[in-house]
């Protein structure tokens, strides 16, 4: 406060002070950072010790928190199990329910009976019975339980019930050793958690039998359990001085950039004050433009805000364009640029708007230049918008129309927001250009606003078509151009008619959204077409070299991995799991290749394998021959050569300390018929398979011709010679490709042709995509519109919130809310109901399909057993699965004894134990069938269980839609898009019409309210235009009659009052004058008598009488003064008032009048001392005078000088005739029929009463300007 007063930090100066302060901080930082670095260098050894201790301590804390969680859950569960297991409350149902509760879903829970049998478990079974007993660690102690795929932190404890000991085993997954490049994969890794928390690399050994590393670059510490026993070892690279200095520099740089950004922002705030004072609008626009461009460039140079962010928003894969050297190279950079662009656009638009409303004189030459310039700019801008939208589609990995969720993830959401911001900015600019063009067009032709717009629109559409044909590579079709131009003209006309209004932005946003989605859809179609070329690349990409590379990389990485090599030494290693581990961590999974990994022992016997998309591979003894000197070879396996087009197998030795301890092989298959990975389960699919996800493989048809004959076909169409005839007549480009259209079975297809030569044979690959149907385009439209409508509604909501004060209790507001409630609630209910119905139908379809499959299986199994009673059960199951093509599992009691996809279960990726709920339902509740949702990673699927009896032996069989996909015509997401797309459009239309209706219905009431307020302020000249019907018409007529009567009565009353006043005054004057007259008369008579009598006392009488006369004359003078004082104006009630507020408040009274009142102020504070009522009356008088002088625009400017406020009233009325100019402030002067001629006189008197004044500054046929001076409050 002291400093504020001392330094006079008022207004903009405070920003300057902050800027100065930041500059000092910046200077200090440049000194301090090198000092910190020096100090760190000098005390490095001490610091390193501290830092290592700190890392050890914090890393241990991270581990300990997990342990605490585990132990706390164990205690909680143990307590509740005690209740559930205690007689007489023992309930198996409650036991199963308890261990399968959602709160324990992160853990693996097993409850064992005193005899060691597992009696309850949840879906994730970490510990098998044989892994629990004998106990690895004492009861109650935590320890790491390792499998090939996962490490758990486990604890086993007892639940003591009378004489029985039940056991509880609880495990928390702590490290997943396999990785899947897949959206469903849930990473679990303590190692990664530590890596992310500290700027170094960690390695964790989940076994107590590892000693600390002897590598001096590393530091190791032990992981102790809750009984302080060693259960593992953590190893990390010690921080280096170089990396420490780098991180200090990085932190210092970030701090300085932060300060610099603050500096820029506060400088901008300081400049805002100066900027407002710029006289010319063009200068203000130019200044804002330069400043914002400069700030944007500075932000970009300092990598702000990207340097403070990580993840999807800064990922160039989500969007990156080379525009302006990378200023939009990521979604966040695009957002910042689009925001700046929007600010500039809004400012330019508003200034254009004001400009065209103000200016009247136009130079024809300038008009021609400007019309032609803006026309060219308009066309180029549309091309620029199209190019930007094209970039959003083509330079992004986001597939906007194929996002799996209704509300997409952050990158897609942010890019949609960017698109909307950019489109809104562009639309405002384009509307601004059209308004300017229309404005200048009026210099030549003026057929009225509407006709001018229509004429120009026609001219623009024609010119646009010419522009289209002039372009070498037009980006959009003529239809799209006509559509966009039409929408912009419509919007511009609306803005022109309605004038400035914040809701204009909502309309612009809606139009921008619709157009941008249409453009997105247009370019997406183009991308889909281009993707045909990508498909041809993909078909040719997996050549021998690449397949060999993947095999080489997979095998070499495997034999370098200590975990893999050490597994060969361990007892009880699950080699199927090991094969899955190698497969999942390699390119075989990342590239979603049809492939396998097999593990052999040193005797070349197959001991484990994992395979997907191909048969279980077998290697012969010969295949192990001819390994190179590194014990490695890649070859074409004889067993598979006949079945696939391209197949390679790699084989490598696994070397132990001094001998070969085993072999690993990997096989990759590539076959034209396997395109699309239909055999690949979704939960393993990486999403980057043979085709880019732009286009659905099922929509493609692929033909390959060798020497003009069909050699291969993909899809359900085998083309006839006639159908593909156009291919032979096609002219190929120098790159040996071409685009053509083919008609097959009366359907149009776009075809990309690629010509290659192999062994002197010409090979043509044709990739065909069916032309899109309208319904599909509508789907795409709604897919994005749902997201856009969310942003539009949020924007609308923000506007309403900002105007809540004006809005909440108004009649219009209440009407609008009522309309919205009545109309939106049923729409939402209907949408939710429809969604529910669709979901239920989809679910029923899945259940029916799965049920049908189970019935087929049951019948097949039973009929096999009937025909072949001696056939063993496993063969029966395998036959049923193979012959029916259905993958299923069979369980005996709780254990799986067969599965068609055994490799997934044998590896431990899927759990082999029967679903506990299914077990309970089928075995305890005796249900015949049981349907449930299960999960693998984050992939949910339906599992259907059924109990069957084979030879009086009970089994459970199960099918699911993870391996047996059930096709639904429209997925829930598809229906969501349609439903919510249509309903969100409906909601926006409802809001629009509700607003229009509420406005329309409430308009007369609002008019009447304002008029009543004006009357209350003393303005009786208000007359409302009446175009209404019914009661409202009568009400307005009544109001008009009332005001007219009031006005008449006021005049009559004033007249009567004046007359009465005069009468009273005359009476009083007569009475008062009479009083001194009598003594005067008597005195004069006495003087005359004395004179006639020649009295001796004449002198004394004269003296006395004259004195009396003088006294009475003085008396008369006093009476005159008193009367004069009585006739004076009432005294002023002075108070402190805010001039701006009074002006704003008063001009609101004229809101319904056909006059536009613009109020500008260059001052924040405008306190004066005045009579509030008289001040309002003064403003009403001046505005009313202007209206009565036919003005349709009044501008009120409030400026502050050193001691005064200058208020300028400028109107565009007919002005004051020269003969009247000198008389306007005289009482009784008026040029109006009903005027009393006291308004300006009273105004002048009021202003003089507060030491102000009013002068007529200028008047002509074009308008009048009054200049008012009012002293500021001291």
């Amino acid at each position: 406060m002291f400093f504020k007063k001392k330094l006079n930090l008022k207004g903009d100066r405070k920003y300057l002070a902050i800027v100065f302060f930041i500059l000092i901080l910046l200077l200090i930082s440049t000194v301090v950072i090198p000092l910190i670095i020096d100090s760190r260098e000098n005390n490095w050894e001490e610091y390193l010790t501290e830092e290592i201790n700190k890392i050890e301590q914090e890393a241990t804390e991270i581990y300990k928190k997990k342990e605490e969680r585990l132990l706390s859950v164990k205690s909680e569960l143990k307590k509740e199990l005690l209740v559930v297991l205690s007689p007489p409350n023992t309930s198996y149902r409650n036991l199963i329910r308890l261990v399968n509760e959602e709160r324990f879903s992160d853990y693996s829970v097993e409850v064992l009976a005193p005899n060691g049998r597992v009696i309850a478990w949840n879906e994730d079974v970490a510990l098998r019975r044989e892994e629990i007993f004998p106990l690895e660690y004492p009861l109650g102690q935590t320890y790491f339980h390792n499998t090939e795929l996962m490490t758990y932190l486990s604890v086993v404890d007892t639940i003591v019930l009378e004489n029985d000991n039940f056991y509880l085993a609880l495990s928390l997954p702590i490290e997943k050793h396999y990785k899947l490049q897949n959206p469903y994969y849930i990473p679990v890794s303590l190692t990664n958690e530590l890596n992310e928390n500290f700027f170094t690399q960690f390695e964790i050994f989940y076994t107590p039998f590892v000693s600390a590393s002897k590598d001096g670059r590393k530091f190791s510490f032990e992981l102790l359990n809750n009984y302080n026993n060693k259960i593992g070892l953590v190893e990390f690279f010690k921080p280096t001085l170089a990396s420490e200095i780098n991180s200090i520099k990085q932190a210092g740089e970030n701090f300085q950039v932060f300060l610099f950004i603050l500096l820029i922002l506060f400088s901008a705030l300081w400049f805002k004050g100066k900027f407002r004072k710029l006289k010319f609008r063009s200068l203000r626009v130019l200044s804002l433009l330069i400043i914002l461009v400069l700030i944007r460039v500075l932000f970009y140079s300092f990598v702000f805000p990207a340097r403070f962010l990580e993840g999807d928003l800064v990922d160039p894969a989500n969007f990156s364009s080379a525009f302006a050297g990378g200023i939009v190279k990521s979604p966040i950079e695009f957002f910042v640029t689009a925001l700046f662009f929007l600010i500039i656009s809004v400012y330019i638009f508003q200034n254009i708007f004001s400009y065209i409303k103000e200016k009247r004189r136009k130079n024809k030459t300038i008009s021609i230049i400007l019309i032609s310039s803006f026309t060219i700019i308009f066309f180029l801008s549309i091309r620029a918008i199209a190019a930007t939208v094209k970039s959003i589609i083509f330079d992004s990995a986001i597939r906007y129309f194929k996002e799996p969720d209704l509300i997409p993830d952050l990158p897609a959401l942010s890019m949609n927001l960017n698109l909307l911001i950019f489109s809104l900015g562009s639309f405002l600019l384009l509307c601004g250009f059209i308004l300017l063009i229309v404005f200048y067009f009026k210099s030549f032709f003026d057929y009225g606003e509407k006709k001018n717009f229509i004429l120009l629109l026609i001219l623009f559409e024609i010119a646009g078509l010419i522009f289209y044909f002039l372009q070498k590579q037009p980006l959009i079709t003529p239809f799209l151009f006509i559509l966009i131009t039409g929408i912009i003209f419509l919007l511009s006309y609306y803005f022109y008619i309605k004038g400035k209004n914040v809701y204009n932005f909502i309309y612009a946003l809606l139009a921008a959204s619709v157009v941008s989605i249409i453009l997105m859809n247009h370019f997406n179609l183009l991308l889909e077409r281009n993707s045909l070329r990508t498909v041809s690349y993909e078909i040719n990409r997996p050549n021998d070299n690449l397949i060999r590379f993947y095999i080489d990389e997979t095998l070499k990485s495997a034999v370098r991995d200590d975990r893999i090599v050490n597994a060969f030494y361990k007892k009880n290693t699950n080699y199927d799991a090991l094969a899955f581990l190698i497969w999942s961590n390699s390119s075989l999974q990342k590239e979603s290749l049809q492939s396998s990994v097999s593990v052999f022992n040193s005797d070349k016997k197959l001991i484990g394998s994992f395979y997907v998309g191909i048969e279980k591979p077998q290697l012969s003894d010969e295949d192990f021959n001819n390994l190179n000197e590194d014990g490695f070879r890649i070859f074409v396996p004889a067993a598979l050569k006949e079945n696939y087009e391209q197949v390679f197998t790699g084989l490598t030795e696994v070397k132990g300390r001094d001998s070969v301890i085993g072999y690993i092989s990997a096989t990759i298959v590539y076959d034209f018929n396997l395109i699309g990975n239909k055999t690949f389960p979704d939960f393993l699919e990486s999403g980057s398979n043979i085709l880019s996800p732009v286009v659905d493989i099922n929509e493609l048809r692929i033909f390959e011709f060798t020497d003009s004959k069909v050699s291969r076909v993909y899809g359900d169409i085998y083309p006839s010679r006639d159908q593909v005839e156009p291919i032979w007549e096609t002219q190929f480009s120098p790159d040996n490709d071409a685009w053509i259209t083919l008609t097959i079975n009366e359907e149009e297809y776009l075809a990309y042709l690629k010509r290659t030569y192999e062994n002197d044979e010409e090979k043509i690959t044709a990739i065909l995509l069916r032309e899109k149907q309208l319904t599909w385009n509508l789907f795409n439209f709604f897919k994005l519109f749902v997201i856009h409508s969310l942003f539009i509604l949020i924007f609308l909501f923000l506007i309403l919130i900002s105007r809540l004060k004006d809005f909440s209790y108004t009649f219009r507001g209440q009407l609008l809310v009522a309309f919205l409630i009545i109309s939106i609630i049923p729409v939402i209910v209907l949408a939710l109901y429809n969604r529910e119905v669709v979901q239920e139908r989809a679910r029923t379809a899945v259940i029916n399909e799965l049920n049908e499959r189970l019935n087929y299986l049951e019948n097949h199994i039973l009929s096999q057993k009937e025909k072949h009673p001696n056939r063993d059960l496993i063969t029966v199951f395998a036959n049923a699965g193979d012959e029916l093509g259905i993958s299923f599992g069979a369980f005996e009691n709780t254990e799986q004894i067969f599965n068609s996809k055994a490799q997934f279960y044998n590896s431990g990726f899927f759990k082999s134990k029967l679903n506990p709920q299914a077990y309970y339902s089928l075995n305890y509740l005796s249900y015949r069938e049981y349907l449930t949702r299960e999960k693998i990673e984050n992939f949910s699927f339906n599992s259907f269980y059924k109990k069957i009896n084979v030879n009086d032996h009970s089994f459970s069989i199960s099918v699911n839609d993870a391996f047996n996909k059930v096709d639904i015509i429209y997925s829930t997401m598809d229906m969501d898009v349609f439903l919510f797309g249509i309903y969100s459009l409906a909601v926006i239309i409802i809001i629009f019409f509700s607003a229009v209706l509420a406005n329309r219905i409430s308009a007369p009431i609002r008019k009447l309210t304002k008029a009543t307020a004006s009357v209350a302020q003393g303005d009786l000249n208000v007359i409302l235009e009446n175009k209404e019907k019914g009661e409202i018409k009568d009400l307005i007529n009544g109001f008009n009659r009332m005001t007219s009567e009031l006005q008449k009565n006021q005049i009559d009353l004033a007249e009567l009052e004046r007359e009465n006043a005069w009468k009273e005054m005359a009476k009083q004057v007569a009475h008062e004058i009479k009083n001194p007259l009598t003594p005067l008369k008597l005195a004069v008579q006495q003087l005359i008598a004395s004179y006639r009598e020649k009295s001796d006392k004449f002198d004394s009488v004269f003296e006395k009488v004259t004195q009396t006369i003088l006294n009475q004359i003085e008396n008369l003078s006093s009476i005159a003064t008193e009367f004069s004082r009585f006739a004076k104006m009432p005294s002023l009630k002075l108070e402190v008032v805010n001039l701006q507020e009074v002006i704003k408040d008063t001009i609101n009274l004229f809101i319904e009048e056909e006059v536009k009142i613009i109020f500008n102020s260059n001052t924040d504070s405008s306190l004066i001392e005045a009579d509030n009522n008289q001040l309002r009356r003064m403003i009403i008088n001046l505005v009313r005078n202007s209206i009565q002088a036919d003005a349709d625009e009044i501008k009120i400017d409030l400026n502050s000088t050193d001691n005064n406020f200058i208020l300028t009233f400028t109107d565009n009325g007919k002005g004051i005739p020269p003969s009247d100019r000198d008389k306007i402030f005289e009482p009784g002067f008026t040029s109006k029929e009903k005027g009393m001629g006291i308004g300006l006189k009273l105004t002048k008197r009021f202003l003089e009463g507060i030491n102000g004044n009013i002068v007529l500054q200028e008047t002509s046929e074009k308008g009048t300007i009054f200049r008012i001076t009012i002293p500021q409050l001291k």
């Binding site: 690399q201 433009l289 990378g326 004189r361 070329r533 480009s733």
Partner: protein, 151 residues
């Protein structure tokens, strides 16, 4: 009045060149290549080797095609436009700081030239290595990279 209008005119002319040269059209990476003569695949691989070993993507940009397949060890995988590929690789080289790189197997076959090598890098103070596979394709504009795999 005239001055006023001319100011507006100049203002818009200054402002608009930016938006008239939009991203997709301003694809400088593609246009740089139009007049370049087709070099031998071997030469192109040498330049790619230099670019990767110096971590300088600009040297690589001439060879990025409109649809380049990238498969990187940080999880990036798929087809990317030349603009995307440029910035993705720039970010990758910045984070996985190259310590050395060379092609150890180079096949300049006429139709399907490819090269493989080892990318040694430093990440969070730890040295590591990744296998590299790069293949080229000849188009009318010259050799273009069809695939970069760094696993």
């Amino acid at each position: 009045m005239v001055k006023y209008l001319i100011k507006y005119y100049l203002l818009l002319l200054i402002f608009f060149p930016g938006s008239l040269t939009p991203a997709q059209e301003n694809n400088f990476l593609n246009k740089l290549d139009t007049s370049r003569k087709i070099a031998r695949a071997q030469v192109v691989f040498n330049q790619i080797e230099n670019a990767i070993s110096s971590g300088n993507v600009s040297l690589l940009s001439n060879y990025l095609s409109s649809q380049t397949y990238l498969s990187l060890s940080n999880g990036i995988r798929g087809y990317y436009s030349s603009n995307q590929a440029f910035y993705i690789l720039e970010d990758f080289f910045k984070i996985y700081n190259v310590t050395s790189f060379r092609f150890d197997n180079l096949n300049s076959a006429e139709n399907t030239p490819y090269a493989t090598g080892v990318y040694n890098y430093e990440y969070k103070g730890k040295r590591n290595s990744a296998q590299v596979y790069i293949s080229l394709n000849k188009s009318a504009g010259g050799w273009k990279i069809t695939q970069i795999t760094i696993n």
